[in-house]
């Protein structure tokens, strides 16, 4: 039957949508056999990947991330680019599956033949969000998407993770300056290569202008440790699809600057190192959790900790000790 056929390297390179989608499913699979197939395929595609500009986008809920991605995505396609959008959602529910409505918020982009949008379910995954996103990104690049946008949902830990896999980190802001800086996790602003004040339209336009200058001041106070690029503060209206050209200009000049200084390659190589480590961490955790000799103890200690009969530190030490004994 059709479904059991594995996606082929040739089809992915040709940009066959079905093949790309099936390959991503393999990478996401919790079935060892499928996962293995995915890794083999990925390895064969690696030489073809790496040519895209990788953009991470974040911002507080309600800032208009999806509307922005729709606007910039359509703009880029008009410029002749092909755009892939991936969503990272590290939050996980206890029971139940995920509801993914990403495409409803990027309706026009979702319909476009030069766009590929893949929302990934978050629940039931043991870590691994970063790995899957990174690998999905590579598949998309091999399939010829030359701009890959990684959207993070929510503000927090996910930013650092996304920053470790993209070239350019874009922070989207609301036009009411003061309140928002308060709400932002410390450090997120420091990651940003571009800060874009969205909703610069109608009555909010003047607010947005004020915010732009406020953010400029705030940003000057921060130590620019990331690279030689000076972060820029821009304004746009994703709703009215205005300001995309300037943002793209800035992105290109960012790439230019970093390429000229040699930091572009350095950053990517550094990211590869992080990639290795995240694979190690994930692999260790998986092996630990699934270790046959630990199963009984894990569930016992879990219960003991949850009922308050044992300190978490004690339980963790015990588990790690047994792990060490068993893996000798």
């Amino acid at each position: 039957m059709v479904q059991n056929k594995l996606p082929s390297k040739a089809d992915i390179i040709k940009g066959n949508r079905r093949a790309i989608a099936k390959a991503i499913t393999l990478l996401e699979s919790t079935r060892p056999e499928s996962f293995e197939h995915g890794q083999v395929l990925l390895e064969s595609l690696l030489p073809l990947a790496g040519k895209a500009l990788r953009i991470g986008i974040t911002g507080v809920p309600g800032v208009g991330k999806s509307t922005f991605i729709e606007a910039i995505g359509l703009f880029l396609i008009k410029q002749g680019h092909r755009v892939a959008v991936l969503a990272v959602d590290p939050s996980s529910q206890l029971t139940g599956g995920s509801i993914m409505g990403d495409k409803t918020r990027m309706n026009e982009l979702a319909q476009h033949p030069d766009a590929f949008i893949r929302p990934s379910p978050s629940s039931g995954i043991l870590g691994g969000v970063a790995r899957k996103t990174r690998e999905t990104m590579l598949i998309c690049e091999a399939a010829g998407y030359d701009v890959v946008i990684v959207e993070t949902v929510g503000v927090g830990q996910s930013e650092t993770m996304v920053d470790s896999m993209v070239d350019l980190f874009l922070l989207l802001m609301l036009p009411n300056a003061g309140d928002e800086l308060q709400g932002l996790k410390k450090g997120v602003l420091e990651l940003a290569d571009l800060v874009v004040v969205n909703k610069s339209d109608g009555k909010q336009e003047s607010l947005a202008k004020t915010a732009q200058s406020e953010y400029s001041k705030a940003l000057h106070l921060l130590p620019s440790s990331k690279n030689s690029w000076t972060p820029q503060i821009l304004r746009c209206s994703a709703l009215e699809k205005r300001g995309m050209d300037k943002i793209w200009e800035a992105a290109k000049s960012f790439r230019e600057t970093l390429r000229n200084s040699g930091e572009w390659e350095k950053q990517r190589r550094k990211q590869t190192g992080k990639w290795m480590w995240s694979l190690v961490e994930e692999g260790l955790l998986l092996k630990f959790r699934n270790h046959p000799n630990l199963q009984k103890q894990i569930s016992e200690l879990e219960k003991a900790v949850e009922s308050g009969n044992m300190l978490p530190t004690t339980a963790a030490t015990k588990l790690l000790d047994s792990w060490q004994t068993h893996s000798k």
Binding site: M1, S34, I99, M100, T104
Partner: protein, 720 residues
């Protein structure tokens, strides 16, 4: 009042305490609180109400015809003139609908109510590629004034009040009505009737909007302005709770959100410099009436009281400005596919509630509407239901017969209290436009719908013939079949003819004037649309002239989670399904993934949203597709997300055309391994047709979701 009562009491007459004792004996020792009933509104209903309850409320008597109109807007109500029987109908071509209208008028119907097809609602001409499955299906196809003239052929528009359910393409449709009348020799001053023109609830529940909220509100304002100046007998907005109830809202939510929307329209007009008395008497309302009998009666009474009080802040001089007049329709959602003749009884009870509540006009649904479009017979029975209430049962002789009832006045008062709380919340958010933008009203309605679905699926809430007293082999019911492509071809021919015979330069000028007015915010768009319609511009062209400036809007879709599973009374059943899904995920390497989609221009998404949230609660990964998709778009997204299943929700009879296309596209894309299931209003006689196409499961109204989820799992397993 209480004084006179206690005087007449003899020492031996029983007290409330005596009753408590007696009642407790009958309950074998249990307290009477054990038989209190909690409504979906969380209002607690006691088994017995007495004068004491009214005393506690500080109840004072009012009279019909006087503010706050709780007992009715007119002094004599139906005793003077019964409610208007106004059946909502329309299908296929203008010719067919016209002949249907004329038959009904001859049979005793008093006013007309036009149902338009979804292509027209969304401002597309019948030749547009996005409406292949929609033309002529859930209403009549109107592309130009020529269609409108045929629709009202031999119906004198100076004498007939016409209600038009139109919210998206309000401008070209109202314009076409005005021009059709004009060419009959009837001037605007003579026209009486209503246009729904209630865009806020579209953003909340029904989704037949075209433009973004701000632009849409401008259109509402332009229409109020034009009608108050030129059409004194015409209702400019019909503020609708009906669709809010149909989407799953409780009576409290329906009241608060509807009246809140009303307030927003009032403010829009006042901000334009109009005085309250120049337009408020021409605002009318439209409520849904479901099976919660007492509640529905109380709701209409409460609505009148609340509106009269809300309007006070604008200092009206005319009594009529604060007088809520309403149309009602029996609930379509309460109709069942199973054992459908029961629906005649349901509709009768709902109609009775609407009239006891004091509606000004009423539509009664045909019993076969959970299966498809009504036939001539079912439409006649629906109409007769009202005639029997009016002419056999003697309902009209007394005004507000429940007035003064201990229970009804208490219930009315509870509703007023709860709705006021919610209205205050809305005001705090900055009014309904803001609230709608935030998405909260819609999410609350969806939570109420999910909660209710869980209770029904588990049998806690009984629906006869669906989750209790089912029959094995109910006799099949005949439904009306519309040859969708024949209607479309006929419309396309007429469009071609119109475009050939008109002065296209003049049309272009008129359309440009509309675009300019949309862009610079000046001029009245209805005036300009009337001009363009006279020159034979089409509904689609006029809509496009504004779309060019404002774009076509897509309301953001929010989803809820956890409500369905947590409301399900039997957690064991939930766990069982979850375990099955876990097993599946273990074997397949991921959870089963389903894309819930709607195709065509039908925006009724209660079914789709309830399915999405419940399936996710049970353990599916659920993708929600945007509304108004073509089959090609659905397939593209399903492939991209690599789903196991596409679940199509269909309420508007487009399934035969659109699901057929969907499966063809799947084949073309080499993706027949994706399972297709369908649900919604699908006539049972179409089941075989769909199954032959390759649809794996079909879920009619009333299918319990946990069972459906299992069936879908099996269907996936069978494909792999």
């Amino acid at each position: 009042m209480s004084k006179s009562k206690s005087k007449t009491k003899t020492p031996s007459s029983p007290t409330l305490k005596d009753w408590e004792k007696q009642a407790s004996r009958e309950l074998k020792g249990k307290a009477t609180s054990s038989i209190h009933w909690k409504t979906p509104e969380e209002i607690e209903i006691k088994p017995l109400y007495t004068a004491e309850d009214l005393e506690k409320l500080g109840y004072t008597e009012t009279l019909s015809g006087f503010s706050p109109f709780t007992r009715g807007p007119r002094a004599t109500m139906y005793a003077g003139r019964p409610w208007t029987i106004r059946q909502y109908a329309g299908f296929s071509t203008a010719e067919e609908s016209n002949s249907f209208y004329r038959k009904n008028l001859a049979a005793g119907q008093k006013g007309l109510s036009v149902a338009f097809d979804l292509a027209t609602h969304r401002g597309y001409d019948s030749d547009h590629k996005r409406v292949v499955g929609d033309v002529g299906k859930a209403g009549v196809a109107i592309d130009s004034v020529e269609d409108m003239k045929i629709l009202f052929d031999q119906i004198p528009l100076d004498q007939m009040s016409v209600s038009m359910t139109m919210n998206g393409a309000v401008l070209p449709i109202l314009a076409a009505y005005v021009v059709a009348a004009e060419e009959q020799g009837v001037i605007q001053e003579q026209l009486s009737g209503t246009i729904q023109n209630d865009i806020l609830k579209e953003f909340m529940v029904r989704n037949t909007y075209i433009y973004p909220p701000a632009a849409s509100m401008r259109i509402v304002g332009d229409i109020i302005e034009h009608t108050s100046a030129h059409m004194p007998r015409y209702n400019s907005v019909s503020i609708s709770g009906y669709h809010i109830q149909e989407a799953g809202a409780t009576a409290v939510q329906e009241l608060a959100f509807t009246l809140g929307n009303g307030l927003e329209y009032v403010r829009t007009a006042i901000n334009r410099g109009m005085t309250i008395d120049s337009f408020a008497p021409r605002l009318s309302f439209f409520f849904g009436v479901g099976m919660n009998f007492y509640m529905e009666i109380a709701k209409l009474r409460a609505a009148r009281f609340l509106w009269a009080n809300l309007i006070k802040q604008f200092n009206p001089k005319k009594e009529q400005s604060a007088m809520l007049r309403t149309h009602c329709q029996t609930s379509g959602w309460s109709l069942t596919e199973q054992d459908p003749f029961n629906n005649i009884v349901r509709t009768t009870i709902e109609a009775l509630a609407a009239t006891l509540g004091g509606t000004q006009s009423l539509h009664t649904n045909a019993f076969d509407e959970a299966l498809g479009l009504p036939t001539e017979t079912s439409a006649r029975i629906a109409l007769n239901t009202q005639l029997i209430l009016q002419e056999e049962a003697g309902i009209p002789h007394v005004v507000d017969p429940f007035g003064g009832s201990y229970f009804m006045e208490s219930l009315t008062s509870s509703l007023i209290k709860e709705a006021t709380k919610l209205l205050d919340e809305i005001e705090k958010l900055g009014g309904m436009t803001k609230a709608v933008e935030s998405g909260t009203p819609k999410q609350r309605i969806e939570a109420a719908a999910a909660r209710r679905q869980a209770l029904i699926d588990h049998g806690e809430e009984v629906i006869v013939g669906v989750n209790k007293y089912q029959v094995e082999n109910a006799e099949p019911v005949e439904v009306r079949e519309i040859d969708n492509s024949a209607v479309r071809n006929a419309q396309i021919r007429r469009l071609k003819k119109i475009k050939k015979n008109r002065d296209s330069n003049k049309v272009d000028t008129a359309l440009n004037a509309i675009s300019n007015a949309a862009e610079n915010g000046e001029g009245n768009l209805l005036d300009l649309s009337i001009e363009a319609i006279r020159l034979r511009a089409t509904v689609g062209e006029i809509s496009a002239a504004m779309e060019k400036i404002w774009g076509r809007y897509n309301a953001p879709i929010h989803s809820i989670s956890g409500v369905y599973a947590n409301s399900f009374p039997d957690q064991k059943e939930i766990k069982q399904v979850r375990d099955e899904i876990k097993d599946f995920a273990k074997k397949a390497g991921r959870r089963p993934r389903i894309m819930v989609a709607k195709m065509g221009q039908d925006g009724h998404d209660r079914g789709a949203k309830v399915i999405a949230t419940a399936f996710a609660d049970l353990g599916f990964d659920v993708d929600i597709a945007p509304l108004f998709q073509t089959p090609e778009e659905v397939v593209k997204q399903a492939i991209e997300n690599d789903v196991h299943v596409i679940g199509i929700s269909s309420q508007a009879a487009g399934h035969k055309t659109l699901i057929k296309l969907l499966i063809e596209v799947l084949k073309k894309e080499n993706s027949e391994d994706i399972v297709v299931v369908a649900g919604g209003v699908i006539p049972p006689q179409d089941y075989d047709f769909l199954k032959d196409l390759g649809v794996s499961c079909i879920f009619g109204p009333g299918t319990p979701i946990p069972g459906a989820a299992r069936e879908v799992l099996v269907a996936i397993a069978n494909k792999v």
